[in-house]
């Protein structure tokens, strides 16, 4: 088998459709007789719902139906717990999942109260104004520290507190480590992550076919198979009666995997009830409150270090804002807890977190999924230790890196995939060395920075290391099928939101079957095309589905060679599979095209040998034993205007290792995009809530996403340490770009403004210009 395409920067198969406006996105689904849906959402964060009167709305012209929670009858059920908590001894977990329409109480601004179905979206929105809602307002739980005090209101009355979860994980003996430490440094860190804000918002279209007893649902989901299974059960249908299609999806980044959103529950039910197709497309204002967020944590963390800078132990106690409900279990705070350990040898770790219910939108993973928070804490602790011990910032990191002969490296605590946090493979020091070299670390510190400072310019450098647990199970599958026209069709159960699966999977197939990647059609996200799967999340698509595609292609290859060997009456070893045909080595004129073999694999007459499967196809599954751990280093040189705090990134370097690379072009694109989101997180993107739980900046004019002027040119490099956990040696890369950016910038800005000489420290993210202005005007403690 040649590897002509695997590893090459093959241009994307999906581009043409997207570039010409022909790709089908959710709002492009148009069906005859389709109705349109709008949701009435709570304007207050916390209230008892006394009464809803929809009678006026029902009478308005063009309104077909209006529903409130009572109308759902038995269909009204809290959502399922999407992710069970990992089995960590002694942990508390209080699941409270979201409801399809608020019934007795509203728990966040944006929670749906009623559904209007109309002949057009315009009319549906008109009718929202006709609905009268009577509420008894309660005080809102917004601040996660106050939420745990006795004077706080309770988000869930039956719980008797706002504790969503409490988890304590330990590695080694921190007390002993602290007793032996040269110094112990303790700080409070606040890290806020924002919203994923894909340019396409969410949407659902549902079409019930009463004659065929079939439900078709188009959904901007990252996990179509689970949507099908869940909705079939809720609707009282068999899974075979429900088809879920995730069409082209305009960016996901995590929140599009949350389920079941109230809108996903409502639309199919309405379609069955009215026997009409129905559509709901989220508008941008809704997106700010109705799609899940990732938000803040407060860490009280300390590091115990030896005189030479070696980490002896870390202790961390943190609070995590989980929002009004916690259907996603512990994934985000567990990621924070685990990823804090980073690429470093940390012999003792004592970490406790409390997840807190608030009257704010639900928190679920958004690109990085809590990893940012942990990385920020450890990286800032190392900066503090370096300064205290007068060790160079890069050097203290180097001294603590896990050595290459220590893999697999067991960190003992339990990760989000329920397995002990074990790093499969890695070689960290070369990654750091490459990054230092690329950013010109020594030159900058010794020559450039002093020279520029002489000129009165505020320039600084930041460097941060991270690991990323990727490619977690349970499994994915793929069906690879050679069609009689010679083209290859591949179906998988994952969805796709721009990651280039139409190309990277095609590359895997192309090498195995000797075809051009352009002749491989990939179908993702259609449950009628592939029945099983989990979804696209946790940087796992290429790792898990990619290996399934490889396994299936390999079987198809064997089948093709066997069929051809039978036809030619020769040995399989004498055959060459290339250019879409099987030929006899040395006799290029003697060949059979793959399409013809596909025909022969489905004979119409005659007998087949026992055990023969028809079709030139195979379905294979792959499930890794545990996640593969990627790693990397980001470094940046920044300049900051000391008056306006406008920040300019003079240089940005990413060196990473995600194992074997399928398509370096796509990989670089993933990193670029991740860094851009990291920059948004580090500087601009703060969800500003008032003390009543109102989001004050719910528009793209107020919640600023980075533009082409804010994201610098990035220099990328990589090393390759294959994962031993899957045959292709791949590790995931989807989130790597976003994870350490906050840590890099806090360090670089601190350096640029020489804040440490004023005893000021930047221990929080985001650091907008106005926040920097506030912080640097504070008196040192």
């Amino acid at each position: 088998m040649s590897t002509r395409f695997f590893g090459a920067p093959v241009k994307r198969n999906e581009d043409r459709k997207l570039l010409t406006g022909q790709a089908l996105f959710i709002d492009d689904v148009e069906l005859p007789g389709m109705l349109h849906v709008a949701f009435l959402r709570s304007q207050v964060a916390h209230a008892r719902l006394k009464h809803i009167d929809v009678s006026r709305a029902r009478k308005r012209a063009g309104i077909v139906a209006v529903y409130v929670a009572e109308d759902y009858g038995d269909y009204w059920q809290p959502g399922p717990l999407l992710v069970q908590p990992p089995p960590i001894p002694g942990s508390t977990f209080n699941p409270r999942t979201q409801v399809p329409l608020a019934r007795d109480k509203v728990r966040y601004v944006g929670e749906p109260l009623a559904v209007v179905v109309a002949e057009s979206r315009y009319l549906a929105e008109d009718a929202l104004d006709d609905i009268d809602v009577e509420l008894e307002q309660l005080s809102a739980v917004v601040d996660i520290e106050q939420a745990l005090t006795s004077s706080s209101a309770w988000v869930h009355d039956d719980l008797g507190s706002n504790v969503a979860a409490h988890v304590h994980q330990v590695k080694g003996d921190y007390r002993k480590a602290a007793a032996n430490a040269h110094i112990i440094l303790k700080r409070r860190f606040r890290y806020e992550h924002g919203i994923s804000s894909p340019i396409e918002t969410r949407g659902v279209v549902a079409q019930w076919n009463a004659r065929g007893q079939q439900m078709t649902i188009w959904d901007t989901t990252q996990a179509p198979v689970f949507i099908r299974n869940g909705l079939a059960a809720m609707l009282g249908l068999g899974e075979r009666q429900v088809r879920v299609i995730a069409p082209f999806v305009g960016g996901g980044f995590g929140p599009k995997i949350m389920m079941f959103y109230p809108e996903e529950v409502a639309l199919p039910w309405i379609s069955m009830r009215l026997n009409r197709p129905v559509k709901w497309i989220e508008d941008r204002l809704e997106h700010f409150v109705a799609t899940t967020h990732e938000r803040g944590q407060i860490h009280d963390a300390e590091i115990a270090v030896a005189a030479d800078g070696r980490i002896l132990g870390v202790k961390d106690v943190f609070l995590h804002d989980t929002g009004a409900y916690n259907p996603y279990g512990l994934t985000v705070p567990i990621n924070s807890q685990c990823t804090l350990l980073g690429p470093y040898v940390i012999p003792a770790y004592d970490s406790t977190f409390t997840a807190v219910f608030t009257n704010l939108p639900i928190v679920t993973p958004y690109r990085g999924a809590g990893r940012q928070h942990g990385v920020f804490v450890i990286e800032r602790l190392l900066d503090l230790a370096a300064r205290e011990l007068n060790i160079d910032r890069a050097e203290i990191r180097r001294r603590n890196l896990i050595p290459p002969d220590a893999f697999p490296y067991n960190n003992e605590i339990i990760f989000q995939d329920f397995a002990p946090l074990s790093y499969d493979s890695g070689n960290y020091e070369p990654v750091l060395a490459k990054a230092l070299d690329a950013i010109g670390y020594q030159y900058f510190l010794k020559e450039e920075q002093p020279r520029l400072r002489e000129e009165g310019r505020c320039v600084g450098i930041g460097i941060a290391c991270y690991v990323e647990g990727t490619g977690i199970g349970p499994y994915e599958g793929a069906k690879v099928q050679v069609q009689t026209n010679g083209k290859v069709n591949v179906a998988t159960g994952i969805g796709t939101q721009g990651q280039g699966h139409f190309t990277s999977f095609a590359q895997i197939v192309a090498d195995q079957l000797g075809v051009d990647p352009a002749d491989v059609d990939i179908v993702t996200g259609d449950t009628d095309q592939f029945y099983w799967g989990a979804g696209t999340f946790a940087s796992r698509g290429a790792v898990v589905a990619g290996n399934a595609v490889s396994a299936a292609s390999s079987v198809v290859r064997q089948k093709a060679l066997k069929l051809a060997a039978d036809a030619f009456e020769c040995a399989e070893e004498d055959l060459v599979l290339a250019d879409g045909k099987v030929s006899i080595a040395g006799i290029p004129g003697k060949f059979i095209r793959l399409g013809e073999l596909a025909q022969r694999a489905n004979p119409m007459r005659g007998a087949v040998k026992p055990g023969t499967e028809p079709g030139l196809e195979s379905t294979q599954y792959f499930g890794p034993p545990s996640g593969a751990t990627a790693n990397g280093v980001h470094a940046a040189i920044v300049e900051i205007d000391p008056l306006t705090f406008e920040l300019k990134v003079l240089k940005y370097v990413v060196v990473h290792d995600c194992g074997t690379v399928i398509n370096p072009m796509i990989l670089e694109g993933q990193i670029h995009g991740g860094v851009a989101q990291g920059i948004g997180n580090a500087f601009f993107e703060k969800l500003a809530f008032d003390d009543q739980g109102q989001l004050l900046n719910a528009s793209l004019a107020d919640y600023l996403l980075p533009t082409a002027l804010d994201v610098p040119r990035m220099e990328l490099d990589h090393t390759v340490t294959p994962s031993p956990l899957n045959p292709l040696g791949i590790k995931g890369a989807g989130e790597a770009g976003a994870i350490p950016v906050g840590a890099v910038f806090a360090q670089a800005i601190e350096d640029a403004l020489q804040l440490t000489s004023r005893k000021l420290e930047l221990l929080e993210i985001p650091l907008s210009p106005s926040r920097l202005f506030e912080l640097t005007r504070q008196e040192a403690p």
């Binding site: 148009e30 340019i199 072009m665 995009g673």
Partner: protein, 163 residues
């Protein structure tokens, strides 16, 4: 109640249309759902993201900030009209493909419309100028770097093709 309807006439990508339209109908909705030109995407409906950018008499506008009635008598261009009738991609489309300037592709039509108009008027932009021209279009996937590279390349392709 019959909402007020207006008859409007206009062209899109050279095709002439005459339609009755409700006065409050957004141009973006009209193009997408009445004319079936769904290549124009809607991202924010408040004029920030730029995904819905089309050309109005050759100039980029946000179709979500215009009413369909305002298109009366005007010539519109959308992403569907960029490639030639024979299917050959516009140099800006070609360059976006060559440089991996799109991932999910949702913001892409708006970027294509903004930048084809910009490059037609600015055949030799600097990278900073390209970034400035792009800054009204939000992309959440790419980090812009490959789009910038694509636009520099597209400018070169267009200069070469120009007489």
């Amino acid at each position: 109640m019959q909402p007020d309807q207006h008859e409007i006439e206009f062209t899109v990508n050279g095709t002439h249309y005459r339609r009755m339209v409700e006065s409050r109908m957004l141009l973006s909705d009209f193009l997408r759902h009445e004319l079936g030109l769904a290549g124009t995407h809607v991202g924010c409906e408040h004029g920030v993201c730029g995904a819905c950018t089309i050309l109005l008499d050759g100039h980029p506008v946000r179709s979500c900030l215009m009413l369909a009635v305002q298109a009366n008598g005007r010539a519109l261009a959308t992403v569907e009209g960029l490639a030639s009738a024979s299917g050959e991609l516009h140099p800006v489309q070609q360059a976006m493909h060559a440089h991996h300037g799109l991932q999910c592709g949702y913001c892409t039509p708006g970027i294509l419309m903004t930048m084809t108009a910009y490059l037609a008027e600015h055949p030799s932009p600097s990278e900073d100028e390209v970034r400035e021209a792009l800054s009204g279009n939000l992309c959440r996937c790419t980090g812009y770097q490959n789009i910038v590279d694509a636009m520099m390349d597209a400018a070169a392709r267009m200069r070469e093709a120009a007489p």
